[in-house]
Symmetry: C2
Subunit: 171 residues, 2 copies
């Protein structure tokens, strides 16, 4: 992966951390700019920088301080997007990615392992929603709206990860 020899004259575009050599031709095959990554993934440039800040991406830099991403980072960003859709926060996603050896991007096996644990979380959510719905059905006929009696208002049930409410009480 690293240490290829190139014979091009322009030094200005060298990627620092990968080692010296020449630039454009082969480098352009391996590396993409932030704009290209943005176009390929549909994620705004500002969001990509934000992901880097949060530790989800670790691009290389050219001698001119511009970011250069691996092509496989497209897949890494896809992973982030899908995991977000499944309800994971960026910090949770970062933990999953951090466990990959060598900072590698997710492979099939990784994805299977992660998505299985996601499946369990989704199942939990569905169970909770079903229970809540059943209680709501009973509550429709009741209408008590009493915090002491209403089975809907139960501190132990957190509806979804993002369920709002007064923090001191529900959290």
């Amino acid at each position: 992966m690293c240490g290829k020899n190139f014979t091009d004259s322009g030094d200005a575009n060298q990627i620092l951390r990968v080692g010296a050599g020449r630039t454009s031709g082969l480098l352009m095959e391996r590396f993409i700019t932030i704009g290209q990554l943005s176009k390929r993934t549909g994620v705004a440039v500002s969001a990509i920088r934000f992901y880097e800040e949060k530790g989800l991406l670790a691009p290389l830099r050219t001698s001119g301080n511009q970011r250069r991403f691996l092509r496989s980072d497209i897949r890494r960003v896809s992973f982030i997007l899908i995991a977000q859709k499944l309800g994971l926060g960026l910090s949770e996603i970062e933990k999953q990615l951090a466990e990959l050896p060598d900072g590698r991007n997710p492979s099939l096996a990784d994805w299977q392992k992660i998505s299985r644990s996601m499946r369990e979380e989704i199942d939990d959510k569905i169970r909770l929603l079903n229970r809540t719905r059943n209680q709501l059905d009973q509550c429709i006929g009741c209408g008590c709206l009493s915090l002491e009696k209403c089975r809907l208002y139960n501190k132990d049930d957190k509806l979804g990860l993002k369920g709002p409410g007064p923090r001191a009480v529900l959290d």
Copy 2:
């Protein structure tokens, strides 16, 4: 199951500013302080003030500028808490409450009407989660992680109301 004496709809809001001199027994029967409301509902005093700011509560004031709530506001706050648990945002709850005639606190019929529409939203969430879970199951065997191909990554499905993700893309 639950009690049914929730319609003290007679104690409407004909009360103006509460006079200073006699904080008499009668007033103390009808009105409660913010601290009492906090204790009865478990909602922090700061949160109650916040709800007022958002238009969900409209307490009276003493001549000394302290808030005085109706006893029935306990039920109004209960309603807010339960609706939040069901995933409604404060602005949506405010709309529901604003539709009550005379700024009345929720009655049985109101609650039934609102909770039925909530039930539909919950059903929608459950359907979406089930679909997502099924797609995830297929994805476990696939591992493609391709934005073009993966059926999991579908802009039209928003998982839950709070599903994060790059705004420009998913919204």
